[in-house]
């Protein structure tokens, strides 16, 4: 009747002969087959394993569970004719069942409390924010109080990794942005025959806003994530603890060089970004809009003064500080799992870009109020 067992009724006794492979791979069918054995008038069930070939823990487990079902409804069960090599699995289950008990409700999903969890989350985030500010202050203080020779080398390394290495990509992006700006402004200005004012638009927006903003966003993506991932991994592998035990302050060794390094690197990157953006505008002017190099530079000198350049550059250290602090802080918050590392790295990038935009908005409003 079935590949895995045959059933014989002998008065009050239900004899079940197991056959074939009672193993993990057949578990679903085994369970189904066993569920179909329902004693009617019988008061005793005997499992015997005449034709049993392979047997494993999973097979033994479904068999045992079913026998427990029978016992519960008052039918006695018995195992007979098991070879030692097979019975040891069954014995194993019986042993485990005898020593352990399932905790009722262990698998029941815990009820969720939206409001309560929301409030708790809000509180946790607030504490975290306050904690972060304190942490940063402490790190900066540590760095200022006891500058170490180790830190200088590390700062130079960071300037290279976050600044010099980023020059090609930042310049490429800004060059392309210069092209876009030149094209878009020229389309509007063409209507008034005022093509030459394209230079004003491109130069002003690149110098005052876009050069530094694009550089900062690229750096946030490149270095903010790198900071968080590097420090997070160091936390997970106990490298941070190792530093602490050796008497080195992780804030000083890990955070200060990154913050200072990036604050040096980003203004320099901004200069490169500005040059590339102008080059993009000039390129389109010369090739498409009939504004040659000479008239481009002439117009540039007329329209741009040193303030415009300084406005952009003045934002760079602030953006750098925000990126570096967010990245390193999130990295230091990693504990426990690889998943946490991924989450906090993402948080670092998203938050630093968010903070950059917020800071830029504040800068713009303040500068325009004071007429800078």
């Amino acid at each position: 009747m079935n590949a895995f067992l045959t059933v014989e009724k002998q008065g009050g006794l239900l004899q079940v002969f197991l056959k074939d492979d009672w193993v993990f791979d057949n578990l679903n069918i085994l369970q189904e087959t066993l569920d179909n054995i329902i004693p009617e008038t019988e008061t005793q069930v005997k499992f015997s394993c005449g034709g049993l070939k392979n047997f494993d823990l999973a097979g033994a487990w479904v068999l045992y569970e079913r026998s427990m079902d029978f016992e519960e409804i008052g039918v006695t069960t018995d195992f007979e004719g098991f070879r030692a090599s097979h019975f040891k699995f069954l014995q194993h289950i019986i042993d485990i069942a005898a020593t352990k008990e399932y905790v009722p409700g262990y698998f029941d999903p815990k009820p969720s409390h939206f409001v309560r969890n929301g409030i708790r989350k809000l509180g946790e985030n607030t504490i975290e924010a306050v904690d972060s500010v304190g942490y940063i202050a402490r790190a900066v203080l540590d760095g200022v109080k006891r500058p170490s020779r180790l830190v200088v080398g590390e700062i130079i390394r960071q300037v290279h990794a976050t600044g010099a290495a980023a020059i090609p990509i930042v310049m490429t992006v800004c060059f392309l942005m210069g092209i876009v700006l030149a094209y878009q402004s020229a389309r509007q200005l063409e209507q008034f025959g005022a093509n030459i004012f394209m230079v004003d638009l491109v130069a002003t927006s690149i110098f005052r806003e876009l050069g530094v903003l694009l550089a900062a966003i690229m750096v946030a993506g490149r270095s903010g994530s790198a900071f968080a991932a590097a420090l997070g991994t160091m936390k997970l592998t106990e490298e941070v603890d190792a530093l602490r035990v050796m008497g080195l302050n992780p804030n000083q060794i890990l955070i200060i060089p990154r913050v200072v390094g990036l604050m040096i690197a980003l203004p320099v990157l901004t200069v490169f970004a500005n040059i590339a953006g102008l080059a993009g505008g000039a390129f389109i002017g010369a090739t498409v809009l009939d504004i040659n190099w000479f008239s481009f530079t002439e117009r540039l000198a007329e329209t741009i003064d040193v303030n415009d350049v300084l406005v952009g550059l003045s934002k760079a250290p602030v953006f750098a500080f925000l990126i570096a602090v967010t990245g390193t802080l999130r990295g230091m918050q990693v504990k426990g799992s690889a998943e946490e590392l991924g989450r906090l790295t993402t948080v670092a990038v998203v938050q630093s870009i968010f903070l950059i935009i917020v800071a830029d908005a504040i800068f713009t409003v303040v500068y325009s109020r004071i007429g800078f």
Binding site: N28, I96, Y106, G336, E339
Partner: protein, 258 residues
């Protein structure tokens, strides 16, 4: 030695090189069904490389490896459902609870209902001596010994035929290590398991293993625990002549005799 044993792992002519450094040269190994084989060797003799080669995690330069009759190829699916591995650090997935870690292979390789999956996982967790309290925790909330047990439960979740253990007692205190040895021995005796373990622990070697494989001279020497100590190789003599090894051997003998 008569060839009456069934071999679950056969390795022929294994060569592993890193640059100019030759780690294995024409290495041969047969692992018998249902035995517990301990693999030892000095540092740099390629214990881990051997294990990784068998598991298909490392592509050897030359040689043929078969596990349960299936040829192992680098980074290609091996007999996943028939082997379980306990990595040195446990390698539990840190984002999942112990329970979920043990369920994962079952969920990946079968279409069992959620309920059955859970209960099978609980069975394995109980089997390695953990309780439901530990099952609900995340790996980083457990002690080193418990992590190893949890990892063992995961390795056993698919009813494997072969169990690989990489330094199972490294980093455990002597009591935990001894308990872990007992657990391995118990599993070896009570399930139809072939166990291959890399170990440095002489207590494990004498107390648990049926045979010992020693990596020396870019090859391997395999023999029973009692015979291997008589081998003339200088490294083997030094290793097993060490007072700690001698003591461990006496202790294991005494345990057998009582």
């Amino acid at each position: 030695m008569p060839e009456s044993h069934e071999h679950v792992i056969t390795i022929r002519g294994l060569v592993n090189r890193f640059g100019s450094q030759v780690v294995h040269d024409d290495l041969q190994l047969d692992v018998r069904r249902d035995e517990i084989l301990g693999v030892v060797g000095g540092s740099g003799t390629g214990k881990s490389v051997l294990l990784r080669s068998i598991l298909g995690l490392h592509g050897p330069n030359e040689g043929r490896i078969e596990v349960l009759g299936q040829k192992i190829r680098y980074h290609e699916p091996g007999p996943h459902k028939q082997w379980g591995v306990l990595f040195q650090g446990g390698a539990l997935l840190s984002g999942l609870t112990v329970q979920e870690n043990v369920e994962l292979p079952i969920a990946l390789h079968s279409d069992l209902s959620v309920g059955m999956r859970r209960e099978l996982a609980v069975l394995k967790i109980f089997m390695v001596g953990l309780d439901l309290n530990a099952a609900a925790k995340y790996p980083n909330e457990l002690s080193g010994g418990m992590q190893k047990r949890a990892s063992l439960a995961r390795a056993l979740s698919l009813e494997p035929k072969i169990l690989f253990l990489d330094e199972p007692t490294a980093g455990l205190d002597p009591i935990s290590a001894s308990q872990f040895d007992q657990l391995v021995r118990y599993l070896g005796d009570n399930l139809d398991l072939t166990i291959v373990m890399i170990t440095h622990d002489v207590d494990t070697l004498f107390g648990v293993c049926d045979r010992v494989a020693v990596l020396v001279n870019k090859g391997i020497i395999v023999d029973t625990v009692d015979e291997i100590v008589k081998h003339p190789d200088p490294w083997i003599q030094e290793y097993f002549g060490d007072p700690r090894a001698v003591r461990a051997r006496r202790a294991a003998k005494a345990k057998v005799n009582t």
